[in-house]
Symmetry: D2
Subunit: 425 residues, 4 copies
């Protein structure tokens, strides 16, 4: 295959393109935690498609199933007609994921992207309660369409709407103000005082760990208190598990360890297992007040995704996978703490849970420099947070120890070179 | 393969499911214009995934390319990183589609669904103009997320939002009021009178043929007048070609024959050619004022779609394909006119352009009965319009004459049986 | 009394001041249809406080009652406590105005200004129906607070809001598109087609004659058809009679001759009779679903206004006053027609009903020049319309023939001098 | 004068009436701090028209000026034309109030009510900054029209809008969360973190003492910190001094003692001095970006109010009046503390500043019972707060000691009788 001309992107693709600026090469092949560009250079992938590739690239078992399905002319696109592949997914998801966790949820196919599931969740919550407002949290990220953007915190993304974003109230996430403050006491005062200007909302939408917002982790007790506040006031609790779900924090759902049961759950990204577009919305059966077709979408029935998603559920048939993730999470957090200690110039604060982790750097632009340096050394890694102050480690959750260690090495070398540079200057 | 239990859908899938109610069987395999259910029953597909399968199911050339790509571990998911498959798509799309039509457009990847491209178009128009309002048209359909829903006419879909939909003004589509009225004179009065309560909008968004809205066709002169009004007032013209584009009306873009050049074009549905999720937004280079990442999304880089979409462009390398579609369009319209004449009980009005056609029935619920009857006889066909009064023929645009005629037969038999029944009763 | 320094206004009053720019003098005294400035110059008032002084300035009977009341230390300010003066007003208004017209209305005191009554009407309509949208009409004017401004057409006034104005849809007023078009056919199509994007609104709010909008007169049949459309769809009909009411069009309410019965009526401006702030909202008893204090305001109980308003009702005890107004209306319209004929350079179109009349000039800025010229010659007169193209005659409705004729003379001289000038140039 | 039939109000006035339910009699005459009903019963007025009668009823000096003006046929209604009375007011207000306080403000006449001035302030702030959002505070009260209601906290008042209230964010007032919390630290975190979901607003609008909200007093240091936050972020500070201004807290403006200088000030209620409708908006000259007539209103020029307001400024020509108010404030606060101590059954918390004071009762409905009991004993007093938990003492600020003591006696007797009753039960 001939080389791709990078000019193609510069002249024909919109200025909105972004990651191709941070990772300026043409990728062509990938397997597990490795990617290769057209020059044959190998990269360790600690980015995982922003959480859409938790099982790594092109997992062999999923790949085999997908090719077989395509070869047999299985239905590819079905809107919301019933298909064999869809039936198999629904059954497996219920058997492998929902039942063992005692979660009694109906499954909705809202369209194949994260923002589709979030928009469907917001609509449903408003319909069920007859209320218009939704409470979201500082530095929450829920998507780019107007409904989802309205509950997203980032100022520049919000500005992109070009219209005032309405029907939402932002409340402080855990630890938003400072470590001592009790942000839920603040929230609850607004609910209990009927002169507060904040009406009882239809729902609260929250991530248990904020990925885009800077790897902010809500404490389990904070989540439990949030759940109890929702119950007290008859507010629906929506967990947006698009990025933190599907194993990223160590369990299938990110909220399992907190011991809470959301009313509505949003899943997408790694749900298909193979990186193809797929999303579902889960909710308590008594909330299923939709009229037929009241929310729809052309790509609700992406059967390739049904096939790979069903195959990916094999990872979850017993608890061995969870244990593996926890082991690697510990390795990764230990590594990060070591780095933060060893290189005080980072002014580093280790953040995260499971394999959704990173270091918030006290020095401006340092995180971006670390990520850029790592890229030239063959590792792909993103930054996040309101000022891009966090470099974020998102290896595939099924990465092996060798892969992890290779990644750690590159990161440490990158940090070291930057810190040395800074000292020299 | 064992049979799928239909109970799975009834007990585990949300009440929002819709098409599986009209077509109550489990589909398992498809090829070209044919689908088979688990009982082995064959169906002629005159639905084409609501316009997402214009090339039919599992087109063999596209299938071969896709399997080859997967087998070679090509990148599957890339966000907006540069990949070989993406580069190839951009280049081909420019060479095969844009250049020959003298369309100088930048390409944006807004996420893989129709509503993603519409939301990105609305955002861009508002950013470019600094205005908040958008004019949409009666019976327009643009998507289910809040931004797109705001420009969608259907009352029950709008109600699903649970919040007032804002920043839009609905104007009458061609022929909305009656055949004599000049709906654009009405529209222009609102623009020119500064006491009209309608501010100059950022954009107008319109379909050249309204699919969901009831196969309403805008006359070319109406479209040209609309374009000139937009030019006069500095309003951006957005053509939503999600359903009418990619050959459905006989040309790649539905607006080609009208001789207009939209400022922004939305494409999705059949763009991937294979029924996998894919969408792009096209716009004049001078409108490309996006900041990097200002609009984003996890599934902007669905490389399977890049591969099949590139392969599908082969259909458009010369004008033979367009000629074929036109021929079949004529056959289909002739058939419909014949039916309307032969069965006056239908009170049928033939509508449409290209292979986006149907009959509006003057008798309530009759269209739905025709579609239901056709289904039992082995043909899949949808209804549309504000009262589901239109039965809608959407065969694959590459269907052969044999397929078309088989479909016609079933439709005529279905009509005949219902009309007879009605007469007997 | 010493002369007032005009600098006071220029240096200390906000740039928002407006009429003092058109009428650049300091007024100090007024009586009936006459005003005097500090230099002792006399002016004929054909402006009547934009309809707030229909009985002229300082009507002697009202003045006597008011002075007596103040001297006796009658309650001045009472919020919505019961007072003797309020009781007397309510009783008289019911006896003299409502009962003889067979209008069964509850009376609400929403605050003393036009925008207060409009906002209360919109709130009530939304509460009664549970719907959010309100239909207003092109070139309608209803007030400057956000709720009222949302139903006002004027673009520059709307822009002053600084926020998008929501929850309203503007429909074309009678004759808006052109003389042949049936604007209510448009409106009804939007209501009856559930794909129109226009939801059934809570209410329609309309003026029978648009004062600020350019002296646009709705035909009685148009109003009757509008009423029947409202009835058909369960929409409340709000007549904003703030400017056209209290005798301005020849009857107490401007809608009497049309034979319609609005669900809600807004009154203010001339209601107090003396030019002091006062407004009421009238509605059918079954619509009176307010909770106590749900709408309130400090100046709901302006007892000076109760006293003068009650005294002013004497004008309406029999039909002689109506007859008088009609006579003067005829004189005025005859005069305007004569002027329009005699001075074709005006390209004048006579508009109006009752004593709410004017000439729309086909020549840009001509109306403003006529008004300015008239001012220098001792007559006060306003312009209106989206381009200030109408000069507007609003004499007190109780003006005598002598006053009318004096005014006519000045107007004709002003027109003549301008036309001559134009010809000379 | 014959007796007024109370049925008039019950049958003809809207259910929205409110105070006439708490004070069920017909008032007919008033003087200073006394009111009389039609039965000749005398009442001490500790309500002062909710702050609109700070100088008591029918102040003799103002009354004389007003009668003289009316007798001489002074201009009554003038829109925003220049008049002698208006010039005199502007000059006096500048000389007596603004200059001595070193306040360099332009004066705007936005219409005669509190909500008119608030709406004009919000519009201006949005126009100056080009931003849409406004920050308001918990339990703030700013008016009943949609713009003002959007920044008002009370849930039932907000619900009365019938539409979602937009473009505002509510932040916690001083002491809202608890006594230890620093509510401005919360507010500032939202401003400084660009992922907070709270955009930098056009303005903050705040009362220095919240009257309707429950006599909540902001500490001076809180106000100063708020001012410095506004300065830091380029946000306009609007002080709504409609209720707390014009001497109610002991100085003309309520913010004088805090040492802050708002960008915009809203005044109404007691501004006319006589209880007739009047309001002004004050702002820094560099903010005066209004276009002529961009905000208007029929009753901007209520000349009776100009006359009485000018006369009332005599109270402020030296500092003796301020001293008098302070003395009476101390007496009143001492009395309230004594009551709270002596009757622990009240669970009373004394609140307030100047003569804007009250007791928040820990026992539900007790405040309302105290007010009701006081009424039967001849004293008029309001309740406020989100649960009407505060009985509120608002005597005229020029009341004499005798009047104050009479009022105290009735209040203590009322409390005693209720407490005794409670104990007995």
């Amino acid at each position: 295959m001939s080389q791709t001309d990078m000019n193609i992107f510069e002249t024909l693709e919109s200025e909105v393109r972004s990651y191709c600026r941070s990772f300026p090469t043409v990728f062509t092949k990938a397997k597990g935690y490795k990617m290769w560009d057209e020059d044959g250079k190998e990269y360790i992938d600690f980015f995982s498609g922003a959480g859409a590739l938790n099982y790594g690239h092109n997992d062999p078992k999923l790949k085999a199933k997908l090719i077989e399905y395509i070869q047999n002319d299985g239905i590819t696109h079905s809107l919301d007609k019933a298909t064999t592949a869809k039936g198999a997914f629904i059954k497996s998801f219920n058997d492998v994921i929902l039942k063992p966790r005692k979660l009694d949820y109906k499954i909705m196919f809202p369209g194949p992207t994260g923002t589709n599931t979030v928009e469907s969740a917001l609509k449903l919550a408003r319909k069920v309660t007859g209320r218009t407002d939704v409470i979201s949290f500082t530095n929450g990220f829920h998507g780019m369409t107007i409904g989802s953007l309205s509950v997203t915190g980032n100022a520049s993304k919000r500005k992109g709407a070009g219209i005032p974003l309405q029907n939402t109230v932002t409340m402080p996430y855990d630890n938003f103000v400072n470590e001592d403050s009790n942000t839920l006491q603040y929230l609850e005062r607004f609910l209990e005082d009927n002169g507060s200007g904040v009406d009882i909302p239809a729902a609260m939408i929250v991530e248990t760990v904020q990925g885009e917002g800077g790897i902010n982790v809500a404490r389990f007790e904070w989540l439990r208190k949030l759940e109890s506040i929702c119950k007290r006031w008859g507010i629906l609790l929506i967990i947006d598990d698009v990025q933190a779900g599907v194993g990223r924090t160590g369990t299938f759902f990110s909220f399992e360890e907190a011991g809470i049961t959301p009313d509505i759950v949003c899943l997408s990204k790694s749900l298909s297992g193979y990186g193809v577009p797929f999303a579902i919305t889960l909710f308590r059966p008594d909330l299923d007040v939709w009229s037929p077709g009241e929310h729809n979408g052309t790509f609700r029935g992406n059967n390739h995704a049904f096939v790979t998603a069903t195959a990916a559920l094999d990872y979850w048939k017993d608890d061995s996978f969870e244990k593996e993730i926890k082991k690697k999470s510990k390795m990764t957090l230990d590594f990060l703490k070591e780095i933060a200690d060893k290189y005080p110039e980072l002014k580093g604060e280790v953040r995260g849970r499971g394999l959704m982790v990173g270091i918030a750097c006290g020095e401006e632009e340092l995180a971006s420099k670390v990520a850029a340096e790592a890229f030239t050394r063959g590792l792909i890694m993103e930054t996040s947070g309101p000022k891009d102050e966090v470099f974020k480690l998102f290896p595939p959750v099924n990465i092996d120890e060798e892969g992890l260690k290779k990644g750690f090495e590159i990161i440490e070398e990158s940090v070291k070179s930057l810190v040395k540079e800074a000292v020299t200057n």
